[in-house]
């Protein structure tokens, strides 16, 4: 059977309810509900991990248990003992889609992943529940020494490289959910781009939660060596269930001297997912780190991608879009730390709230002593579509150096009656007019995306806008 099945070719991007489907997929192994030392040991054992990793997990579990829940952000109503922490969907990872179990392959077909892979990706990882079930990387990149694998495989096959960085950028003690991830992590991407290697097309990982009350805890580590360049894209979806699921990832990135890394996320979780993610990158001399973060769906998202600019000339950019509708709270933001002179950072955050949704921008710009001539600008714009929705801004600025330039601008606007009337007077219905205004509002960020993702992003926004005007 060829990959080019009828099924995958009939896929249109952004079909209605495209993401809200579930498949009846038997699992190979499912740990019992709940979280304790036995479960953590069992996960480690299933993965045949070395002792150091098992110990790392157990120590992290202790840290998780000892830490209180964050007192800021949103209401986290998770019963940690009611969640499945590990679900193995397949015996082994496929190198071709034919090797992936049929039901799971169908899921990714419906999500358009194999099609995207053929068209414009350099490599793909597809994670279903706890494990990466499919992985590919273009041959020429592998020959140049590029590593793109799942993190479990990296523990076995690249232990030295992995151990040098794993848990060093985001230690388990960083926050309660980083500790949780460190204890029960499974899957995620491990990427190494050797010196001077530039990867033209994006590498993409797709994370799919299919089961109910599932916890997905992928762990991603990206190492961009000197002068190297990579664009990594992650997509995340899950179907709608009556009980909550939890997605709590940790993403660690190192960008060495004059390297460049762009990390694009487009997540569209179902409305009952808690999405509590820690993402941090270290940028060294003259390096550039960009986070582009599109947050749609979920019950609560708490996510603040960070760039620590460690050496002179490092640059960090965080562009984020959050869309909160009924029953959703997007507590999204960004963090820039200037730890060296002549570093520059930029945060652009756009949020949209409608139908009672709540979006918050929570951001930190910190300038360490000695980080002279550092520059940062923060722009956060909120658009509120009705009277029952809410938007908050929590900007924190900590400056311990005189010779710096830091700018902050924030705006909150309501979708204007005058703008709506203008568009309606030109024949656009109220819904079309609102969608157009929202599309324009996020356009400055969407145009930063590669074309395929920009199209997807616009379609997702249109889906969110559907039925928004009563």
């Amino acid at each position: 059977m060829s990959i080019d099945t009828e099924e995958s070719s009939t896929l249109a991007l952004g079909e209605i309810n495209k993401y809200d489907f579930r498949t009846d997929t038997p699992s190979i192994f499912k740990a019992r509900r709940g979280l304790d030392r036995d479960i953590v040991s069992q996960i480690s054992e299933m993965k045949k991990e070395p002792a150091w990793m098992r110990d790392f997990r157990l120590k992290s579990l202790d840290i998780f248990n000892s830490k209180p829940m964050p007192h800021w952000g949103g209401n986290i109503g998770i019963d940690f003992q009611d969640i499945f922490y590990y679900l193995k969907p397949a015996e082994q990872q496929g190198k071709t889609w034919e090797e992936v179990p049929e039901e799971i392959k169908k899921t990714f077909d419906r999500l358009g992943i194999p099609e995207a892979e053929r068209k414009f990706l350099s490599g793909v990882k597809a994670q279903f529940e706890s494990e990466v079930v499919y992985g590919s990387l273009q041959e020429d990149l592998a020959k140049k020494g590029v590593i793109f694998t799942d993190t479990d495989t990296a523990v076995r096959e690249h232990p030295d490289l992995l151990r040098e960085y794993f848990g060093s950028i985001i230690p388990p003690s960083d926050n309660k959910f980083a500790a949780l991830n460190s204890a029960v992590w499974s899957g995620g991407s491990f990427i190494y781009v050797p010196k001077g290697v530039s990867i033209e097309f994006p590498l993409q990982a797709y994370f799919r939660i299919n089961a109910e009350s599932m916890g997905q805890f992928e762990r991603t580590l990206i190492i961009v060596d000197e002068g190297a360049h990579v664009h990594y894209v992650e997509g995340c979806t899950a179907p709608m269930y009556s009980t909550e699921s939890l997605h709590s990832a940790v993403v660690e990135i190192v960008v060495k001297k004059h390297g460049r890394c762009r990390y694009t996320t487009i997540q569209n979780w179902a409305n009952n997912i808690y999405n509590l993610v820690t993402k941090r990158a270290l940028a060294y001399e003259g390096a550039m780190m960009e986070w582009i973060d599109g947050n749609l769906g979920s019950q609560l998202t708490m996510k603040y991608p960070a760039v620590y600019m460690m050496e002179p000339g490092a640059r960090g950019e965080i562009l984020s879009i959050a869309f909160a509708t009924a029953g959703q709270h997007q507590d999204a933001g960004a963090k820039l730390v200037h730890a060296a002179p002549n570093t520059s950072g930029r945060i652009v955050s756009k949020s949209i709230s409608k139908n009672g949704g709540r979006s918050s921008y929570r951001g930190l710009v910190r300038v360490e002593p000695g980080a002279k001539k550092s520059r940062s600008s923060v722009v956060c714009d909120a658009l509120i579509l009705d009277d029952i929705s809410r938007s908050d801004t929590y900007p924190y600025i900590e400056i311990e150096e005189q010779d710096v330039s830091i700018g902050h601008e924030a705006s909150v606007s309501k979708i204007g009656e005058e703008q709506l009337f203008y568009l309606k007077s030109r024949g656009l219905s109220e819904a079309e007019a609102s969608t157009m205004i929202v599309g324009g509002f996020i356009e400055p960020l969407v145009k930063e995306l590669p074309m395929e993702y920009a199209v997807e992003m616009n379609r997702l926004i249109e889906l969110q806008m559907e039925g928004s005007v009563g």
């Binding site: 009337f421 309606k424 219905s429 205004i437 324009g440 509002f441 356009e443």
Partner: protein, 280 residues
């Protein structure tokens, strides 16, 4: 009977204050009418009310679109977008900026809807190729740079650019009836002449046009069948093109003297506006 837009005894209130106090005006398709009058006399209010601005409440009277076979369409019962699809157009005195939305994308949507009044949301837009070539030729006719269509709608436009963008929309949408609200303001003499020529070319016999203006230059190529003078929320006098010339040269003193009641209403409205400005 010819096609026409029939405005009968229209009263309009904004936030409870009556601005229009009974306006009657009939515009036939292919006719040009000029509407003049001092600032605050209610000219723009008439435009907004006909287009259906939610803040402009029509408290009395009717606005109907009448087909050549005599079929009457109640404009006031329609949402603004349905009015546009029925063939009514308002060129705004101060068009709204829509940041992030390219003029071309907006216009393609707009043209598609207006030309296919029954189009449902999500249905196909006009083919890109057809739209582009039509837009390009219209822009050439209006001496507009093709880059203009890629800019965000009215965002950072100069006053003149906004007005030209409105004329471009008029040219693309080809309504049956258009109200041009001070499409000459903010333009220099050359630009007004160009606008006047363009409007004449776009309009022709196919369009009924109501030109709201303070000057006669815009009328140079659009000789009005009738010139109407509004004062205190009413049309107090109608005449030929010579009336526009007179008002442009001599102002409204003669009109105020001739219609003391309307002049008093104008003064009362003005006083109320001043009071509001100081208290809010």
């Amino acid at each position: 009977m010819s096609e026409r837009l029939e405005i009968k005894n229209v009263h309009v209130a904004v936030e409870g204050q009556e601005i229009l106090k009974g306006v009657d005006l009939t515009i036939g398709r292919g006719e040009v009418h000029a509407l003049m009058g001092p600032n605050g006399s209610g000219k723009s209010t008439l435009g907004y009310a006909i287009m259906g601005h939610p803040s402009y409440e029509v408290t009395q009277g009717s606005v109907e679109l009448i087909d050549s076979d005599g079929t009457r369409h109640d404009i006031l019962a329609m949402e603004p977008d349905v009015r546009a699809r029925a063939g009514v157009f308002l060129a705004f005195q101060r068009p709204m900026a829509i940041p992030g939305v390219r003029l071309a994308d907006f216009l393609r949507h707009s043209v598609t809807n207006v030309r296919n009044p029954d189009r449902k949301e999500g249905q196909e837009l006009m083919p890109m190729r057809d739209f582009r070539s039509e837009l390009k030729s219209k822009m050439q006719e209006l001496s507009m740079d093709s880059d203009f269509a890629r800019r965000y709608v009215n965002d950072g436009f100069s006053g003149g650019e906004m007005k030209r963008a409105e004329i471009l929309q008029l040219a693309m949408l080809r309504p049956r009836f258009a109200i041009l609200d001070e499409t000459d303001s903010g333009l220099d003499a050359d630009a007004v002449r160009l606008a006047s020529e363009s409007i004449a070319r776009i309009g022709g016999a196919e369009m009924g046009i109501l030109i709201i203006t303070h000057h006669e230059q815009l009328l140079e190529h659009n000789i009005p069948l009738q010139t109407h003078v509004m004062l205190g929320g009413r049309i107090v006098e109608s005449g030929g093109p010579e009336l526009a010339a007179e008002l442009h040269k001599q102002g409204y003193d003669r009109i105020r003297k001739a219609y003391p009641e309307a002049a008093a209403a104008e003064e009362a409205m003005e006083a109320e506006r001043r009071l509001e400005a100081t208290t809010s």
